[in-house]
């Protein structure tokens, strides 16, 4: 059995209690378990994709309502978690599409904004360092920023992040590697002295 098949099998086993409740026609109890297990993850995925807390809350709520509406018809062909994350991602993509013409900044625009703020601050104060690091993360291209955020949100579980983003684990590992490399480059380019020391002083 290859890695992805093992992953699907493990995910199915993890949610077997929910599937058993669904098979017994107890949708309300099944949904209560779904909420207990996935509510936070759905919100985190929305946060990673949408960047905005209010929009993420709306998208998470909308996704969970849709999941509740369709849960009784879930046919278990895919893992439950895969289906839940797919519904959530689609909802987020719709939200991104809607706001594209309004207020969304491109990756380049965010990156140049961060550079400008870094230049303004000169040597950052210790209290601001965490914020500056988060801004560096925010300035990463979407395909690297999302897995990086989810990786740390989900307690560094690569398989969980892969499931949330609907990609292979190796893809997530590659993205994480590139994200860290980009962050290191930007830390060095920002002229913050010794970046290792600067990061260690964040603690």
């Amino acid at each position: 059995m290859d890695g992805s098949a093992q992953q699907v099998s493990a995910a199915r086993e993890r949610d077997s209690d929910i599937l058993a409740l669904l098979a017994g026609g107890r949708q309300d109890q099944a949904f209560a378990l779904v909420l207990e297990r996935y509510e936070r993850k759905v919100f985190r995925l929305c946060m990673a994709m949408l960047r905005d807390r209010d929009q993420a809350a709306d998208a998470a709520q909308d996704s969970l309502v849709r999941i509740w509406q369709a849960l009784g018809r879930f046919d278990a062909r895919a893992a439950l978690s895969t289906w839940i994350y797919t519904v959530t991602r689609n909802r987020c993509l719709t939200a991104i599409e809607r706001r594209r013409d309004h207020d969304s900044l491109s990756d380049e625009a965010v990156a140049s904004d961060v550079e400008a703020r870094t230049a303004e601050r000169g040597g950052a104060e210790a209290d601001d360092r965490g914020e500056l690091l988060r801004e560096f993360v925010a300035s990463l291209p979407e395909r690297y920023r999302r897995p990086l955020l989810l990786y740390y949100y989900e307690g560094c579980a690569v398989d969980e992040v892969a499931g949330m983003l609907g990609v292979a684990e190796n893809t997530v590992k590659t993205w994480l590697h590139r994200a860290r490399a980009l962050l290191q480059e930007r830390l060095i380019a920002a002229g913050l002295g010794d970046p290792t020391l600067w990061l260690e002083e964040l603690a």
Binding site: Q61, L64, Q69, L133, Y153, R180
Partner: protein, 142 residues
């Protein structure tokens, strides 16, 4: 949850960055009252769906009607323009060629106009009568 950790690079900068990201990128908490709002949305959801469906149907119907109306107006305008254009061209042609043609055929102009109208009428009648037959032949050929 943590069973599949990324292998940590030995490089000091990488390790420092990983540590800093672990500290700084804490998972966001659910917004206050999220669960209550979700439950309220679930209670409203079936009504919302019916309402949304009705709105979508009405919108589709409005769009279809307006497209139909726009098409009708465009067609009427085009037909009128073609009619005016054809009449104008026929008028010009008649004014230029009819005297020459009458002279060449040694006919009175009024006779020529009557003959032309008769030929035109027979042509239109033949076209209308034979069109179904032509359509059937075209279908058979295709």
């Amino acid at each position: 949850m943590n069973e599949q950790r990324e292998p940590r690079d030995a490089a000091p900068l990488d390790a420092a960055l990983d540590g800093a990201l672990r500290r700084e990128l804490q998972p966001p908490d659910l917004p206050e009252g999220f669960r209550e709002r979700l439950r309220a949305a679930i209670v409203r959801a079936p009504q919302l769906d019916r309402e949304r469906l009705r709105r979508e149907l009405e919108r589709d119907q409005r769009e279809a009607l307006s497209a139909l109306r726009a098409g009708y107006v465009r067609m009427s305008r085009d037909a009128f323009a073609v009619l005016v254009g054809v009449a104008f061209v026929i008028g010009i042609a008649a004014a230029v060629w009819l005297p020459h043609l009458a002279k060449w055929l040694d006919l009175d102009t009024s006779q020529l106009v009557a003959i032309a109208c008769a030929i035109g009428g027979v042509g239109v009648a033949a076209w209308v009568a034979l069109r179904p037959l032509g359509d059937r032949v075209m279908r058979w050929l295709s």
